[in-house]
Each structure stands twice: as C-alpha cells, then as structure tokens.
Amino acid sequence: MTLLSVEDLSVSFSTYGRTTEVLHGVSLSIPEGAQMALVGESGSGKSVTMKAIMGLLPIPPARITGGRILFEGRDLLTMPERDRLALRGTAMSMVFQDPMSSLNPVWTVGDQLRTILKYADRRLGRARDRRARQARVLEVLAQVRMREPERVAASFPIMLSGGMRQRVLIAMALLSEPRLLIADEPGTALDVTTQAQILKLLKDLVTDRKLALLMITHNLGVVRETSAYTYVMHHGRIVEQGETAALFARPQQQYTRDLIAAVPRLTGAPR
C-alpha cells in the first residue's frame, strides 16, 4: 500500500515581484516500508520537495501552485493545520542534516529529546509523565546503538562526537514511532567512515521497524547503499526513476549518466 504519494506537485517562489516556478509537476510515491532515494544536484529541487512534504516551505515567498501530497490517503495540503501538525514529527518525521547546528548547545541531549517527546505527545493528545518520557528517551538512544544511553542523555551536545550527535538526531526522529522517515543528506558533515556507519544504522533501523525511508541526497554512493528505488531529479522535474540497481546499470537519461560518471573512482582508468 502506498504510504506517501506526491502527485504533480508544483511550487513557485516569488521574490521582489518576480515569480519563478521551481518544481514543475513532481510525482513520486513511497510504499509502506520502502526505502527510496531522491537524488539530484544542488538546486535540482529535492530539498523543496522534501520541505513541501514536511510542510516546512516558507509561505510566502513559496507557494504551492498545483498538485496533491497524500499521506495514507489524506491530502496534506488541504487538511487543517492542526491535523498536519499532529502528523509532523510523529507519523512522518525527519532526520536533520547537520549534527552541529541541530542541537541546542545549552540543553542536555536528554532535555531536548524529552521536550520533543512532550510536544509530540501534546499534539497527539497523549499524556506521559516525566519518568515515562525519560524511559522512552533512553530506549530510543539504545536503539541508535548508544552504549551508555544514560550518560549520553545527561551530556551536552558539545561533549559528544559528530557521529554520536548524528545518532542523537536519528533518535530524535524515531521518538514518536514514525511510519515515514525523511533523511536529508544525513552525515554529510561527517567523515566518510562515520557516515558509512550512520547509513548502515539508518538502513538497519528502517528495515527492522519496516519504516518507509526517503533519502534525500546528491551522493550516489549513499543512494546505492540505502535505497531500493531511486528518483533522479533535475531542474525541478523527476527525470528518471527505477529500481536502484537497474538505474545504475542502465541509466536511460543523459543526466543520470552524467551524474553516475561524476562519481570519482578509486580503481581503474578514468573513462
């Protein structure tokens, strides 16, 4: 069954009296538990697509000029703001990109996770006391393979390494048991070894919990590692889509071929 489907989405930005369309009818669909990737160069519109899905577009200057975004069959664009807020960060949540700026330096990791959980509970009309929240926070920290969840929860962000902070961000996204996880270039700010570990963790988590994952990236290596199905985006359009393996083996579009050719190789002669 389809969890999320974006149909013919168009988005424009108006600045200084000029209107520019940046998404020209983007369509994509994510089945439940599927691992998908949205790949494209900077400025191709992948982040705008992600923000439209999450409801994070700054409106104005942005404006959604056409299309629908269906989550479990309900149109996110027409539903009341209250309902939308109840979904955001709960049923659909997001792994933030930058482990340095996504955590407030003045609160401990535990403080921040508990606050987020409190807000999520409030939106869902659930009640949970402080102790239950703390228990859930420790549980999620353990899920992202923190060896000492209590110590991490009591730490300030500056006391953690980049990789650990990125795992805290993943824990943050998992707090309210989402069905769709959107990851915007996770680990870009980390070194490759740590990034590989983060991607592995993310993949294991979504596989174990049967979460749908939409990986947004410009890094084809990441796509190959984490997704079964890939959309290639260019100039605000989906230019090609298909099973990841097939797409890499037989790219149909020149743009996809260029993108694949742009990946530096460590072995063999340059083509």
Partner: protein, 287 residues
Amino acid sequence: MTTAPLSTSWQSWYRFSRNPAAVIGAAIVILCVLAAIFAPLITPFPEHAGSFVDFRNRHQPPSLTHLFGTDNVGRDNFTRVIFGLRVSLALAFVVLIIAVPLGTIMGLLAGYFGGWTEIVIMRLTDIALAIPPLVMALAVASVAEPSLFNAMIAIAALWWTWHTRLIFSITRQIRSQEYIEAAETLGASKAHILFREILPNCVSAIAVKTSLDAGFVILIGASLSFLGLGIQPPTADLGTMVADGAEYLPDFWWESMLPAAAILFVALGFNLLGDGLRDMFDVEDVK
C-alpha cells in the same frame, strides 16, 4: 559561536579564577555591594550621612578617626563615601533591572520575527543610540526636577537599546540554526522558542554586558550629581562630594579626591569583572 555551553561551567570557572584581573574585579564588586548594604553598621559615624554639622571638626585631614578626613561642615568623609556607594549602586541596579530585561526582550523579538517588528524596534534603537545618555539625563533633569528617580528613568529609557542591539545580533545568528527550525516544525510555541531555545544562548553575553554597563551607569550617575542634577543634598553621594570638595582644592584635597577615587574603584571593579566574564564565556559580540 556566541555561547558558552553550561557543560563546561567548571572549566569556565577555572579560567575565571586563574585570571587575576577578573578575581580582583569580582572582589571589588562584592566588597562594594556588601559595604553599601551594611553601611550603617560598618561606618564610624552613620549620622553623618545626612544633614549633620560639626564646625569644630571641619576640613580635618585623613586620620585614624576620620579615614578620609572631614568635609566643610565637619562630616566624616569615609562614612559619606560608603553611603554614597549605596546611591551609585542603587542607580546602577534600578537602571539595569529596567534596561536589561526590556532590551533583551526587544532584541529577541526583533531578531526572531524580523520584518516590520525588526524595522520598528531597530530604528527605535538607532534613534535612542544617537542621544548620549548624559545629555538625555541633563535634559530630563532641567525639564522635570533634578532627582535620582528622574535620572534613573532618563538613563534606563536609553540604556535598553544597547542590550537590544546585542541580543538582536545573537538571535539573528541562532534563528537560522536547525534546532530552531526543528522546534518550529514540531509546533513549539513562540514563547518556548524565544525563552527556552534562544534566550539561554544569550545568557553569557547578557552577563558580560550588564557587568560592564554597571560601571558606566555609575559614572553617568556621578557625573549628573557632580553637575548638581542627580541626587540632592544633604544625602551623601559620590558625585556631589567631588563637586563640593572641588571648591577647596588643592588645600583640602581629600574632600574631592577620595570620593573620586571611590567612583574610580567601583567602576573599575565592574569593568574588570565584565572583562573577566567575557574571557570566561569567550563571547566576542560584547563591546
């Protein structure tokens, strides 16, 4: 980064305690505050603080009985200096307790909301910053009656703008951080974002700025009193004492020089403390 994480507070404290200037500043400030609070208990002639006359003892040079000598009507200058500290510190306290919260809130609002809020608030600060506080206080004192209360209001009315500028610039930097975006996404209230996410990041800068400000406000208060537009006699006040004592220079130098030294002492204390806090928190925005 503009912020010192609280996690390293013990490291910060270590850095502070290893900085002799900072420790001296803190000691001076604590000493002055305690002296001001307990003035009636620690001064040898508490009754000399107000209108008291003892013409037999006028213009006595510093001695063991009168550490700072006596003034032109025979009052003990040491007593009056300590009581004068009360006035100076009260002025700084009242001005800052109005200006700091007001300036902080205005800065948070302007920095976070931007747009018209920012334009209105920041242009207002531009106007206020164009007026020197001393001139403003002089103007208020000459239109209304010269009193400590009016001086406080006049200074506070302008002083908050410095804090607004400072907090505005910090808020602008923090607003674009992803944790603010994340909080917004999750439906956190504006009050939560302003006071729980942004404000804690400003605390170190506010502490440094406030400490430095205290010294300046005391100097302005003393200047006003010197010109006869601050607190009115016979209440003991450092600026007034300097002005009155200046008539008898250079013969009875202690009557103006020692109160002046007291002003220098307390202003220096706050400045050293502020510099020490700045080094400790490693904030760069505060001038």
